[in-house]
């Protein structure tokens, strides 16, 4: 019965075209630019019409979803990427006139991929993480059928508005800088097609970390053994044992500014201009024991980029 009435209303709509109430009643969507599979709230608004006393029908892809007096709002789930959904509201106001309202929802997704331009040792398979003031490149990548479409991008960061110079036609990358360790940068992008039909937006947070110093053995035949870090207590068998310090996540462009300070036991090891990444420990000729090797590195151009570590060598 309910379906028959709703279909009759749609049919009547064809015989008696709806009164033009353009701008008098609107459908407001929240969010206005939905993401794929996101829940959307639709709500009717209009001050010149008594919506509370009106008979309201909600259709999704021509199927009745909700009906009732004063039913001004309706929630539904957006489709997948590029999946169209037609939302229609029919309002029968108390004097019998009919208002038709339509919206098409076709979610477009943008993925925000990013990478920090920080140092990791050669052959390292993990992501380079951002540190204070390190450069971060963000890429906006539309999904689905729009993956190769060129859009107008507007970028903003934290609470700042659009970044001039980084926004505009096909400006799909954006460069920013890392915040303090443990804090995040909020990157926002909105994307619009020329005809304004396709709109999408996205926000991500990128958290910075503290740089890290990791020790590795440097073997005269094998080179640096990146597979196994030196930590805790390490038993050494050869007479000479070289320890190399790797400054993870220092700004790549500032590696030349990194200084190293080394200590073995209670003694400080002097090195030329504090540029030595590696020291060699020689076992005493007699006896056994344990000695702590410590290192501290600092980026002299950005003193927040520093770290220290220590390892015991047992012989």
């Amino acid at each position: 019965m309910y379906k028959i009435i709703s279909k009759t209303i749609l049919l009547l709509g064809l015989i008696f075209p709806a009164v033009s109430f353009a701008g008098v009643v609107d459908i407001n969507l929240s969010p206005e630019i939905p993401e794929p599979n996101q829940t959307i709230s639709a709500e009717l608004s209009g001050t010149l019409v008594d919506l509370d006393s009106s008979d309201i029908y909600w259709y999704l892809d021509k199927e009745i979803q909700k009906h009732g007096i004063g039913e001004k709002s309706f929630s539904f789930t957006a489709g997948d990427v590029d999946e169209k959904k037609d939302l229609e509201a029919i309002v029968i106001i108390p004097d019998g006139r009919r208002i038709d309202l339509q919206r098409t929802i076709e979610p477009t997704n943008i993925d925000l991929l990013w990478e920090a331009n920080t140092y990791t040792p050669p052959f390292y398979r993990g992501k380079a993480l951002p540190t204070y003031k390190s450069s971060i490149k963000v890429l906006a990548l539309p999904s689905g059928k729009n993956i190769n479409t060129k859009f107008i991008y507007n970028w903003s960061i934290d609470s700042l508005n659009n970044i001039a110079g980084s926004s505009g036609y096909n400006q799909k990358t954006f460069t920013t800088f890392g915040s303090y360790a443990g804090y995040s940068r909020k990157i926002n992008v909105s994307m619009t097609s020329f005809d304004k039909f396709i709109k999408a937006k996205k926000t991500i947070k990128i958290e910075s970390v503290a740089p890290e110093l990791v020790f590795y053995e440097n073997n005269p035949l094998m080179g640096t053994i990146f597979n196994n870090a030196l930590y805790g207590i390490r038993e050494i068998k050869s007479n000479d044992f070289s320890v190399k310090a790797e400054p993870y996540y220092v700004s790549r462009g500032e590696l030349k500014n990194v200084q190293y300070k080394w200590g073995v036991g209670k003694d400080r090891v002097e090195s030329k201009d504090n540029k030595e990444k590696m020291i060699t420990f020689t076992k005493p000729e007699n006896g056994s024991g344990k000695v702590q090797v410590q290192a501290h590195f600092k980026n002299t151009a950005n003193t927040y980029q520093e770290a220290r570590s220590g390892v015991y060598l047992s012989y």
């Binding site: 050669p122 398979r125 993480l129 993956i147 990791v214 080179g223 640096t224 053994i225």
Partner: protein, 426 residues
């Protein structure tokens, strides 16, 4: 009196409750407790009880074997205790199954015969500090990756070495060429061509290049990206997979790139700590998710876009897909706390595992332990660089703890048997 009786009942009740809680906790915490996979209870390969010290390794001509209590040769073999840079199954010039590997200290190339269980040096190179050696499918070309110098940590060199086998009994010679410096990633073709795919950076952009090692003219750019940090996989001829370099609790993405058209398609995204292993027919992806207090792995079906959780903690880089039966996964599995910073700390060498090998049938959901790893040094084996021979009856892998090379003999398991009649890609 009744009070004492009540006390007794109360004590018994508390003990019973404590026992019950312990059992429940054990069931929940037990890492092998899988909600989705029915385990086979028996270990499929048994080679006796773990060593009591008498079952020590014997080393002859660069390989060791482990004897079990019945004195039979166990199915796990350490091919070499010297650190290696990479290994690969081949059919040698005597038409026998063999393993070729590159020694890390020298860059020298060896061949290990599965028949007589001996290693023989094919080529002397004296290339100190070869970090990575990647073989083409034929085993005739090997890419040697090393640093220009230990002081110059920045320049990665890649030398493509082409082996020329003479007739049986004659010596092996080689020719070679350098590929461009600082290739961040390089993979070899999954079919019997001598092609490689690598990432080359230029002016802040990264290009995926296909190159035929035998024909320098045959070089084509198939994809470009403004981002540089990608990992590559090449599961089948016309498909290269780009996955963002992973980090704990940071979203990762995987893209399929068609090598002919260069078209990219997102297949996985927004998965924190994403690491992947794509099946040889590219219909399934084994992936791991690593985020705050959660580490999980699942098999994603590319066609249906559905996933099946595995209930085991698996790093995809410790696995290999079967080729005889593409539903089978062979994985080295460890138990580790969920809050381990993976994969970062494993890549950095800050954490290490003692693995056991499992076989997982992704079609039936059954899985079982193949073999517990027993290292002669009792430090366990942290498996990496896993590969299968063409018949799928041998597994080859490296122990990340010392880069020693190991081989495991596989036999038809209950898990594998059950899938023999299951059509592939049903």
């Amino acid at each position: 009196m009744p009070k004492e009786k009540n006390k007794k009942i109360l004590t018994i009740a508390i003990i019973f409750l404590a026992l019950l809680i312990s059992v429940i906790i054990f069931i929940i915490v037990n890492p092998t407790n899988s909600p989705t996979i029915t385990k086979t209870k028996e270990k499929i390969f048994l080679f006796g009880e773990p060593s009591d010290g008498n079952n020590s390794a014997t080393s002859t001509d660069n390989y060791n074997s482990l004897n079990n209590t019945e004195g039979q040769v166990a199915e796990i073999t350490r091919i070499t205790s010297e650190p290696i840079a990479g290994a690969h199954f081949v059919t040698n010039k005597e038409n026998e199954n063999a393993v070729r590997y590159v020694e890390q200290k020298t860059g020298d190339i060896y061949e290990y015969s599965l028949k007589n269980r001996r290693s023989e040096r094919l080529l002397q190179q004296n290339l100190l500090g070869t970090h990575i050696a990647l073989w083409t499918k034929s085993g005739e070309n090997v890419l040697l990756r090393f640093l220009k110098s230990e002081e110059d940590n920045e320049t990665i060199k890649t030398y493509a070495n082409s082996l020329e086998n003479g007739a049986s009994g004659s010596s092996t010679t080689a020719t070679g060429k350098f590929l461009p410096d600082n290739l961040q990633e390089i993979v070899t073709s999954p079919i019997e061509t001598e092609k490689v795919a690598y990432l080359q950076e230029n002016n802040g952009n990264t290009f995926v290049i296909l190159e035929d090692l035998l024909n320098a003219e045959d070089r084509q750019q198939i994809f470009a990206s403004p981002l540089n940090q990608w990992l590559l996989e090449w599961p089948k001829e016309d498909l290269i997979v780009l996955t963002t370099k992973p980090s704990y609790d940071i979203e990762g993405y995987s893209f399929f790139v068609n090598t002919k058209e260069g078209k990219a398609e997102k297949v996985l995204g927004k998965i924190k700590g994403l690491t992947t292993l794509v099946s040889p027919d590219a219909t399934k992806i084994l992936y791991a998710r690593s985020e705050k207090n959660i580490f999980s792995s699942a098999v994603y079906d590319v066609k249906t876009k559905t996933e099946t959780p595995l209930g085991l903690k698996i790093l995809p880089e410790k696995c290999v897909w079967g080729t005889e039966n593409p539903n089978l996964l062979y994985c080295a599995v460890s138990n580790f706390p969920d809050n381990t910073v993976l994969p970062d700390d494993w890549y950095k060498g800050k954490v290490s595992f003692s693995d056991e090998f499992w076989v997982i049938n992704t079609e039936t959901g059954k899985s079982g332990v193949i073999n517990k790893m027993i290292d002669f040094s009792e430090r366990g084996i942290d498996v990496t660089g896993v590969s299968l021979n063409s018949k799928n009856d041998y597994l080859l892998f490296t122990n990340k703890k010392d880069n020693s090379l190991w081989m495991l003999k596989l036999e038809i398991t209950e898990v594998a048997k059950e899938s023999n009649n299951i059509p592939i890609n049903e």
